[in-house]
């Protein structure tokens, strides 16, 4: 730096590695989104409709193959858990086992889609699952991992139940009240981890897991109090939601008590549409997605990351609360310990399967609803316990998350997997 003539000093850049476009650096994943022209018009139409960049093949091929593979694997599980096969290995026991598998899958299919009642049950289950899935998906979009849906459902459910039995209003007032109560309960339970994340940097995975466990205990306690406990009962069961607080049956006019599908389905679909609009057509959604992708840039752009974290978790929690409303007000009508039944974790699998997109969550919700309903039938008709469904779900999500496995098995080209969602505990 011993120059005296200013004008001649060369200006040369500091080297950095970002001058080379990302796709030319080695080892940066498989393919990604830009697909080329083959998809052409259909893809463009879909993209225009949803505003989302989608590779057709990736969107449909991998999930379908994942489901098929998972079902095959579950058949295998049925096979190897057949004691008969172990102790009397031979053509007879094997053919018995295969026929059992066949009956199980038939039951699965028929039980979920094979009759009016089956469809009704599937839709009933799906509406809850869709709402729960939306709860997780909204969080994902904002870069927050909401494992707390389980607790949010419990909190929202207790609030909804309380609103359901504590008041006596005409249905036009009572039902919305129940819905709002449930949403608020869930929103609070989600908002607390959001607040903690925003103000103290406490990672929401930990705080929501803790809140889940706290909720489980809280429900146990509440169901033992005079306020909640059903009069005259000693076991932890709550008072029943009054008729005016219940979600009405959709096909109630058919006067068939088997058709349980209720207005919660409408609620779920409306919620999905609302979430879609929120995420992709509103400024709020733009903020959510910006914060999810890059909180530093979001701050630079003038967004209040603190406020947005709280907002996201509250909305996610409210959706969980709505799932509880769907469950409580539509089906159960009263609370008992653990009424959420693992919904929260299923919801995570759902959201992943649906790529955190409201449309995807609806489809995935229908699928999981079908699995649940079919699984119940399967358990009744054969000796195959419904827990197998959990195995199927786990496998499906596993394959979705790592399409490389599908690729290896079927030798097809796939896109990226779900990749990184969280950034570890440190903020």
């Amino acid at each position: 730096m011993s120059d005296d003539t200013r004008g001649e000093v060369p200006q040369l850049p500091e080297p950095a590695d970002d001058n080379v476009p990302a796709e030319t650096l080695p080892g940066t994943g498989d393919g990604g989104s830009g697909g080329g022209d083959e998809q052409g018009n259909g893809r463009k139409f879909f993209e225009d409709l949803t505003g989302v960049n989608v590779d057709w093949r990736n969107a449909l091929l991998v999930p379908i193959l994942a489901i098929i593979t998972a079902l095959i694997a579950s058949a295998f599980v049925i096979l190897i858990s057949d004691l008969d096969v172990w102790s009397n290995f031979g053509t007879e026991s094997l053919s018995n086992a295969f026929s059992e598998i066949r009956r199980a899958f038939v039951a699965l299919f028929e039980g979920s889609l094979g009759s009016g009642r089956a469809l009704s049950e599937t839709l009933t289950n799906s509406s809850t699952l869709i709402l729960a899935g939306l709860s997780v998906a909204v969080g994902f979009r904002a870069g927050l991992f909401n494992i707390g849906t389980e607790g949010q459902i419990l909190a929202g459910g207790m609030a909804a139940v309380w609103a359901g039995f504590a008041f006596d209003f005409p249905v036009f007032i009572h039902l919305p009240l129940v819905i709002i109560a449930g949403a608020i309960g869930g929103a609070v339970w989600g908002g607390i981890p959001g607040l903690l994340r925003a103000k103290t940097g406490a990672h929401e995975v930990i705080t929501t897991i803790m809140m889940n466990q706290i909720a489980i205990l809280l429900v146990l306690y509440l169901l033992d109090t005079q306020l909640f406990q059903l009069a005259g009962r000693d076991d932890p069961v709550s008072k029943t939601i009054k008729e005016s607080g219940r979600l009405p049956r959709l096909v109630g006019f058919l006067d068939n008590s088997d058709y349980r599908v209720h207005a919660g389905l409408i609620l779920a679909l409306l919620a999905a549409a609302a979430v879609y609009w929120l995420l992709f057509r509103s400024t709020i959604g733009y903020e959510y997605r910006a914060v999810g992708a890059n909180p530093d840039a979001a701050r630079y752009g003038g967004m209040s990351v603190t406020r947005i974290y709280i907002s996201v978790m509250s909305v996610a929690g409210a959706l969980g609360g709505l799932a509880a409303v769907d469950l409580m007000s539509g089906v159960l009508h009263r609370a008992s310990p653990g009424f959420s039944g693992g919904l929260g974790f299923e919801a995570i699998a759902l959201a992943l399967l649906g790529r955190s997109h409201p449309g995807g969550v609806v489809v995935a919700g229908l699928l999981f609803g079908a699995l649940r309903t079919g699984g119940q039938e399967m358990q009744v008709a054969t000796d195959v316990p419904i827990d197998l469904i959990l195995v199927v779900q786990a496998l499906v999500v596993g394959f979705i998350a790592a399409p490389a496995l599908i690729r290896a098995i079927y030798r097809v080209r796939t896109g990226e997997g779900t990749g990184q969602v969280t950034r570890g505990w440190a903020t």
Binding site: D4, Q11, P13, E14, D18, T24, P26, Y286, D296, A298
Partner: protein
Amino acid sequence: MELELRGITKQFPGVLANDHVDLSVRSGEILGLLGENGAGKTTLMNILYGLYSADEGEIVVNGEVAHFTSPGDAIAAGIGMVHQHFMLVPVFTVTENVVLGVEPTNSWGVIDIKEARREVSEISAKYGLEVDPTRLIEDLPVGVQQRVEIIKVLFREADILVFDEPTAVLTPQEVEEFFGIVRSLRDAGKGIIFITHKLGEVLEISDRIAVLRRGRTVGETTPGETDKQKLAELMVGRPVDLVVSKGAAQPGDAVLEVRNLVVLDDRAHPAIDDVSLTVHSGEIVGVAGVQGNGQTELVEALTGLRDPFSGSVTITGVDATGATPRKIHELSVAHVPEDRQRSGLVMAFTVAENMVLDTYHRAPFSRGIVMDWDETRRTATRLVEEYDVRTPSIEVEMGNLSGGNQQKVIVAREFSRDVKLVIASQPTRGLDVGSIEYIHERIVQERDEGAGILIVSTELDEVMALSDRILVMYRGKIVAEVEGSKATASDLGLYMAGASPS
């Protein structure tokens, strides 16, 4: 020891990073490797260090062909690399970092920490690299951390040392100390490869100079035979227009007034210590200084990303002390951030989405909470055209654009508004020459249209070329104010080091 790289070729998808590169260095000499960003220097060194494998060509050590499949192989062959970004574990001690991978242990695997400490002290004394073996890395200043990196390399008995941009983070004082160390290493018989883009330094320290351009060696020379201008032309491949053409400034009213500003850093130390400055419309004020003297915190305080501890900030007459980024934005301030990928852009968003990152909340891009994507797309298309952003479309993700084009998007976004004050921090860091020229032109254009510009840059050359007035920051204070036309690099360099021309 003699190291030779013969015909090294490495192809990445779409880019030929190294094209039959020949290089050689022997014990007791310092080879300066010069090249623009993207020229292939880092790729070449990664091949040498076993992190990549070459498609063609060979590495010859003392006459024998060597195959490196991992850093371990390179280390075993006597090659040691001191990376640009230190490879040190912050929570480990100096000793632990040095011995990692080659720990002295007993047969059970238990580390003999005393022995390790002793060996570190030995090397430290032998080569004049003063350091306390028991300190944690995170407590040490950058210059000392670099010494630890060097000790690491010497611990493994390297005969050839490769330094990748070693002076980027050093104060001028530390640079001198560093050069002393390098010379004594050479005199002790080591061979040194010194990678840099700084022409002055390569001329000062090298025995021989090799220039890389677009993956090829385009010249080999010695300091005696060349000068900065010739080297610059070799590096870039054409006569470099080193002057930014600009007319005289026409300063008007003050758009930015900073009075007695004190800003604390993350450790509650004052990073900005009683700073006052003024920027008028129609002038470019440059802030020069070595990285780490408070520039980052200054910009953060002025753009709402950090609350000042005391003092005042006034923008176009309105009090903006501790204001939010949004409020400052609404005072017609444009901010080109230091780290474009971290603060300025959402890499996962499309070009169009990024174009409204700080304006999405207002008309015409939204009404209430409803986004108007059509308008967004229209604007993005227009700006991409106007600012010459090279991108396949406005719907591709930001990550697909090169650094220069990414920065152009930011500049397009910021300058297309009606701005009264521009705060630009390291605006051309990591860019190719073409983009740099473009951005400099745009900045001057903004000035001529009446905006006041505050440029913060660690590249002294850039500050000197652009500024009408130059302020120098040192340890959180402004230690000098010089008129642009009267500034000299040597004077500024002294100020930046905390000294003053006598």
